[in-house]
Assembly symmetry: C2
Homo-oligomer: 328 residues x 2
């Protein structure tokens, strides 16, 4: 049976060493970090490991996803991820190779996002869980909130959609047979370059929210918390394969594009005077995006697609998928 | 049954509002914080809620303890706690009053330590867990690590010991009957003023570690990671009642003083030229402490009390209490 000491010693080798100007290293009570800007962005995200484990995800993928999810929150506010702290609860039945698998994924995500694994904490638990706190920096004094969308703003959705919607709607069995679904959902990637864009254009980007619980929910949340309507005239980018999968049936496509989750794209409401400039910049940076609608003043905030209200679904940690329209 | 939305809405009312210069409020993807100094101190700590729940602790006490534990790590490095992020996993059987109870304790701890509840994340889990990330600031460029103790340093232990040792050694049944044990262990307190002392005297304080897994383990860790011996000539402060409880038996007292846990005091190794000055300052601030020993060069790092090696026990999340001497 593992002891806490075994686990801690094993995890230590994955931790980031002291950087320049730092004194506290891996395994100390805390880490000392030199701020890289005049604003910090912080967030925390947790999972029950079972719930994060699609059938084709191993523990390293779960580790990857947990870091991605925390990093995505930072990026959506224009922050550059600097480091993560990871707290885990693991069953007594785990062995060191399970720890290695989980931390390999965490490490790979940390290198991919150029962010440091700063430290953590270990606990025993009958059900395995992981909690990731992320720390980032931004030079921008006004990181966009969820609630700042204004009348006339262009609604831009960053990221490519579809595969996660197939998992959510059609289930694991069907998804497992589709290589394009498995590949896209095994290790979703947040797009770090988006932080540059949001940070540079923060005065023109009135609202921003990451897409972690489904795009319909993200858009609905921006709409309700801003007290505006979002009128979609187009769909966001989605994978080619979805068209064939849906036999070009528009309803089928819309549903899967809007109701995925864990895509880790970002939805932003942008002052329309700057949307062309911002779009050009994103093109130059190879950031996948599409301008899909407009924000409007209205009495009852909601999201419509070509004039018709969209069905809003959200992944609820307790209920599973849940329709939230009119219940918000 | 609870939905995630219910839980999130309930937790929202406990969250800290935007401070001056901040844009992102409760419930957003992340928070934006203005650094208060040129160095951040960050740490994370988690629990399985069952394991944190002594029979006389309710959920509010568990919330209190989880914040205290995270804050204690920050303080031991000379950091002033600024805020915490709390991620929870809760069973579907919980109701909103359980959430309120947990967050009442978290809130009370946050006010007690003048630190802000910045945000969090909610998950469902068969076993309840809580993970607290803490963020603090210090103006000092050299926060003391665990490993910097030098030959000739005075060893000072801050905090008052005993009750937690009775719980650890004599068990819940006996402890539950002792008012002084129940009162001291229900809501242990970290001593925030210690941060001022450690920050002001950071060049003279060569090593520092908080006491969360038992004092013997803290001293042993400083000894081993510094590669020095710690020679104790005295015991730290302990509660009056322990003397009577132990019928003044010295072995009984020593064992309970050294093998508690969750006292959230701090052990520091101090350049002996400054130990009088630092002591006077702590007296003026009403910080409970005692100078109990000296650090010495030696071949085999260990901790002795009046020349005899002490038994080192550590709370292991997987094993429970574990002797770690010679197995480190």
């Amino acid at each position: 049976m593992l002891s806490e000491e075994d686990v801690v010693l094993r995890i230590m080798k994955y931790l980031s060493k002291q950087g320049f100007g730092e004194r506290l290293g891996p395994g100390d009570d805390a880490r000392d970090i030199v701020p890289r800007s005049h604003k910090l962005i912080v967030s925390i995200d947790g999972y029950s490991i079972e719930s994060a484990k699609l059938p084709w995800r191993d523990l390293s993928d779960v580790g990857w996803c947990s870091v991605t999810s925390a990093v995505s929150d930072i990026v959506s506010k224009g922050g550059f991820p600097h480091g993560v702290l990871v707290s885990i609860g693991i069953p007594r039945s785990w062995n060191l190779s399970d720890i290695d698998e989980l931390y390999r994924g965490i490490s790979e995500a940390c290198s991919f996002y150029s962010c440091r694994l700063l430290g953590g904490d270990t606990n025993s638990s009958t059900e395995a869980w992981i909690s990731v706190a992320a720390l980032g920096f931004t030079s921008n004094a006004y990181p966009p909130s969820r609630s700042g969308a204004l009348d006339g703003d262009s609604l831009i959705v960053i990221g490519t959609y579809g595969p996660q919607g197939v998992v959510a709607i059609d289930g694991f069995k069907i998804s497992n047979e589709l290589k394009w679904v498995v590949e896209a959902t095994k290790r979703p990637r947040a797009i770090i370059d988006v932080a540059t864009v949001i940070s540079r254009w923060s005065r023109a980007i009135h609202a921003s929210m990451d897409v972690s619980d489904g795009l319909s929910y993200t858009l609905y949340t921006i709409s309700v918390s801003s007290g505006k309507c979002i009128e979609l005239s187009d769909l966001p980018l989605y994978v080619e394969e979805l068209k064939e999968y849906c036999s070009s049936n528009t309803e089928c496509i819309i549903e899967r594009v809007l109701n995925g989750g864990e895509e880790y794209g970002v939805a932003i409401a942008v002052d329309s005077r700057y949307s062309t400039k911002i779009s050009r910049e994103m093109e130059a940076m190879n950031i996948p995006f599409r301008v899909i609608g407009i924000v409007r003043n209205c009495n009852k905030p909601r999201v419509t697609y070509k004039g018709r209200p969209i069905k809003v679904r959200r992944w609820d940690q307790f209920y599973g998928w849940k329709d939230t329209e009119d219940t918000y």
